[in-house]
Amino acid sequence: MAKQLKLWIDNVEVEVPAGTSILDAAKKAGKYIPTLCYHEDLRATANCGICVVEIEGQNGTKRACSTAVWEGMKVRTNSKKLRELRRTLLEMILADHEVECPTCEQNNRCQLQDLAYLFGVDEKNMPKVRKPQPVDDDSFAIVRDPNKCISCGRCLIVCQEVQTVHALTIDGRGFEGKITTPFDKGMLDSPCVNCGQCTVYCPVGALKEKSHVEQVWDALLDDEKYVVVQEAPAIRATLGEEFGMDPEKVTVGKMYAALRRLGFDRVFDTNFSADLTIMEEGTELITRLKEGGKLPLITSCSPGWIKFMETYFPDLAENVSTCKSPQQMFGTLVKTYFADKEYLNPAKICSVSIMPCTAKKFEANRPEMRDSGFQDVDYVLTTREFVRMVNEAGIDFKNLPEEKADDLMGQYTGAGTIFGATGGVMEAAIRTAYYVLVGKELDNLDIQAVRGITGIKEASLTVPTKELGDVELNVCVAHGLGNARKVMEWIQSGEKNYHFVEIMACPGGCVGGGGQPYGSSIADRARRGLSLYKEDKDLPARCSHQNEDVMKCYRDFLDAPNSEKAHKLLHTYYFERNAMSGEATKEVTHKH
């Protein structure tokens, strides 16, 4: 255990382990030192200087975020000079910031706005030095507005160090030094995997999703269009936070009610296709295990991960499940299965999804995602966009009645729900694979070893199969692409031998997706994961093979898991991509 050090923060005595930053020590002493570039999840860059404090007996100041405490240190977090300093720094940052607060994505939650107000900043004190720059909005998923960027460096750390995607870099230096894409080619032509973690961590409005709100409103208000909606498992874990309700409870019934009030013609649920994914992917796993196919099998539901794999690990493409993501399975079925059932012209159907994810916007636009004969998913809204639409429509979300999803593609089990948390797909797959291989349900459906916020989780379980006897199943769950990279390198080098691997691009899984509320911390993500597990526990059916709607779909339309029709509609193939431009250069796996 690290040595305990005693120090004083504004005369309050506090004891913390050696290595603690002044910032954290101050928190313990009940003092929040103002910060701007700092985020608790990320390495302190010490860029902005807002968190400076004075230390008795020392000249100058120290940055609280990146200075470790020492024994007997006496810290002052507030003084005339420090206030003056913080105010001046903020004025200088604003001098290079496009101030358009009322229309900004981050209005009312912007950290710069907050601090500017708190410190009584007078924007006019400094000459404006901003030079207008073009907004980069060619990407399917992310819009980057350098005019608002304050060069805090959070997006860089997330993109380079946490996600190891390297789609962002700094061009030049000094005041002219700007965060941009490699060789200034724009997000579309960069290795960006659209995970959107940069948007979550941006403290101002410089990074946000490419919005589809207008297109969705147009479709909803167009009588010709039949608008169908699906909602991802993870968004129900965050709506409570956004609408001022219990953040520890999932919000389902009110979500359906709100969607109906927005004017969607049919309200389904992505959880349905999450269960469907398990049937397909579980069958694929069992087939590979039985027939000696390529192992480990790696999950494919996270489109950020898929593009990452195509860019950095195309040699492992054959390991990746051929299953489309739940969103895309759903999209294909809406314009085939559902259209058939309802005698609707698929050309008139507008398929909308609400996702915790920005990469889903890119995925929906992949040219191969048109197995229905149309673009399978027309528009993807993030959680944030959905919340904005509800608020714009003046819907009193909190007081809405609890409603149910529509039949046919609305039913789901607990297995579908936990897709939203890291380890959830793994757990759901194990529940069903066990059932199929052993012929009975698992005694304990809670597979704790794959739950939780640890970056890489490993587990080993013995499955007493009917046909093959006892089978040892080694599984691994990684979330965050930096962790995924490590696991892929282990697989490449043969250092680890897994049978089944779950990868989610975003830390925490989909509850921590790039389309979730701005500023989501790891702690928020962990809490959201827990609320999904809670819903799972409370549901009558907790295994995908118990989903009646899914079984009906097989009976009436798809025949059986991994049938020819299922392969045609629910499975896909992968490309190799150029790591400089992100461009697909060749197919590395092929359609069945």
């Binding site: 200087g49 470790a68 003056e84 300093l85 720094l89 030095v129 230096r173 005041f175 030094g177």
Partner: protein, 519 residues
């Protein structure tokens, strides 16, 4: 070994090469042969002779006569008159009574003792001056003793901050590590500073010897010289010197049976002033953008590739051989209390003889400018000197008699910095000069921290407005305020040090600013 009646030292540097010094050297050689003087008169190539703007120059030794602005046509006359007839060609002689590098009566030439006198590309010449004796001596004693000697000598870092060198070493020397590094900061980028270039061009072996001793003292088996990419001649001379030292077994494995290994490598920069900051330099060495790291951990504990690393300036390390050879007490005789030794200054701007000189610490600014720089040129009056480079201070007339050493200058909120002295005459416009200084910082800020990146930009905007006659009186205090805030909050010394030029220019020459604003 041959004995010569006279030696002709020809200064070879980038500038003289450009002016065709080789052509003139050949003409001289031919001319001497023509009169069968080749056996009597030795021609030696050496580094820069220590003054600039004087075209191709050569120094005749032992007569101590310097010919300047020599053209090919003059060669005949020089040979016939001087070497045949013993008559000095007065029209080409450097008239100014300057001392500079060639003050032979001054015993304090430590760093520059060989510069301009030996052929820097020949290790034997360096050996002939007693070179590498200190290295041999060092290997015979305990490394910790060397640290003590340097500590006692009072040697302080010559890169600008003036941190005691022995103390710096004493943090790293006792650390146990599988690898330690010595890094020589030869990224000389402070505007107006070119002393390290001339040390390296003129006497590369002395630097190498200093590196050897210092590396041994701290237990570093790998040393890097991080040198700016523009210094092509230095790079090639140092490479040659390293090769020679290797050949002579001065570096390599188990040097002289001591059990100590040392490898010296050169790392090349690519144009970034901030890399003069030691942690930024380390980042750059590792192949990254040269942005500074947080301290602590200090490089002495966790530096290059996370290993203990001592970073020292070229001039600092070049002092080490003499300290070891002659002892700490000898070194303490030079300079003033708490600031021992000599300092190499570069004097330039509106002076008669821009160049460099090595003088005792504590020598006054007036002496340096008048005696070594030849005074203000064209009979103009002195207005100000920017002392210490861009990160320095504008000193007015009334401070000309300030003693130049680390401690004393602090009392005037000034710094010795890298030893650059830019002299401005009465016609110089301080506003223009400050504008130029801020433009420099704005260009060189690494952009890592916003106080520096944005602060420089805002300051530049303000000074630019003032320069254009659009400034306001309040802008002056605002500028000082911003620079003060930057001083308190910038991540590294680059942004912190802008306060010195800004405050000194405005405080010492406020009337100039006000006049401009009124217009």
């Amino acid at each position: 070994m041959k004995f010569y009646r006279s030696h002709i030292l020809i200064g070879i540097d980038d500038e003289s090469l450009k002016a065709g010094v080789k052509r003139i050297e050949n003409a001289l050689r031919n001319e001497l042969e023509k009169y069968e003087l080749a056996d009597e008169i030795n021609i030696m190539e050496t580094g820069a002779l220590g003054y600039f703007g004087t075209g191709i120059s050569m120094l005749v030794y032992p007569e101590q006569i310097t010919y300047v602005n020599i053209s090919e046509e003059d060669i005949k006359e020089i040979v016939q008159e001087h070497f045949l007839k013993g008559r000095v060609v007065n029209r080409l002689v450097l008239e100014e009574k300057i001392t500079g590098m060639y003050d032979y009566n001054y015993k304090g030439r430590i760093v520059l003792s060989n510069s301009g006198l030996i052929d820097p590309e020949d290790i034997d010449e360096y050996l002939g001056t007693g070179g590498y004796e200190a290295w041999e001596k060092a290997l015979a004693i305990n490394p910790s003793e060397i640290v003590e000697i340097v500590k006692k000598s009072g040697l302080r870092g010559r890169g600008g901050a003036g941190f005691p060198t022995g103390l710096k070493w004493s943090f790293t020397a006792p650390l146990e590590a599988d690898q330690k590094y010595l890094v020589i900061n030869a990224d000389e980028g402070e505007p107006g500073t070119f002393k390290d270039r001339l040390i390296m061009e003129g006497d590369p072996h002395k630097l190498l010897e200093g590196i050897m001793i210092s590396a041994y003292a701290i237990g570093a088996t790998k040393a890097y010289i991080y040198i700016r990419g523009e210094y092509k001649l230095c790079i090639s001379r140092l490479k040659k010197a390293i090769e020679q030292a290797k050949k002579y077994g001065l570096i390599g494995e188990n040097i002289f049976g001591s059990g100590f290994d040392l490898d010296i490598k050169i790392k090349i920069g690519a144009g970034a002033y901030v890399c003069g900051e030691e942690t930024a330099l380390i980042e750059s060495m590792e192949g990254n953008r040269g942005t500074p790291r947080a301290k602590p951990p200090f490089p002495g504990v966790e530096g290059a590739w996370k290993k203990p690393t001592v970073v020292n300036n070229v001039e600092t390390i070049t002092n080490v051989p003499a300290i070891l050879q002659n002892g700490a007490d000898w070194y303490l005789h030079f300079g003033v209390e708490n600031c021992s030794g000599t300092k190499v200054y570069t004097v330039m701007g509106d002076v008669k003889l821009p160049g460099l000189c090595e003088v005792d610490m504590g020598t006054t600014l007036r002496t340096i400018i008048n005696q070594y720089g030849g005074g203000v040129k064209e009979g103009k009056k002195f207005k100000a000197a920017l002392v210490g480079g861009a990160a320095g201070v504008f000193l007015p007339n009334k401070l000309l008699d300030v003693k130049m050493d680390y401690n004393n200058l602090k009392e005037y909120s000034a710094v010795l910095g890298s030893g650059a002295i830019l002299v401005m005459n009465e016609t110089a416009d301080i506003i223009d000069m400050l504008w130029s200084v801020i433009r420099f910082f704005r260009h060189e800020s690494c952009g890592k921290c916003s106080p520096c990146a944005n602060g420089n930009e805002v300051l530049f905007k303000l000074i630019d407005n003032i320069r254009k006659g659009e400034g306001k009186k309040e802008d002056l205090d605002k500028m000082i305020h911003i620079a003060e805030m930057m001083n308190l909050s910038c991540f590294c010394a680059l942004g912190q040090s802008l306060l010195m030029p800004v405050k000194s220019a405005i405080d010492n020459f406020r009337d100039d600013f006000l006049e401009k604003i009124k217009k």
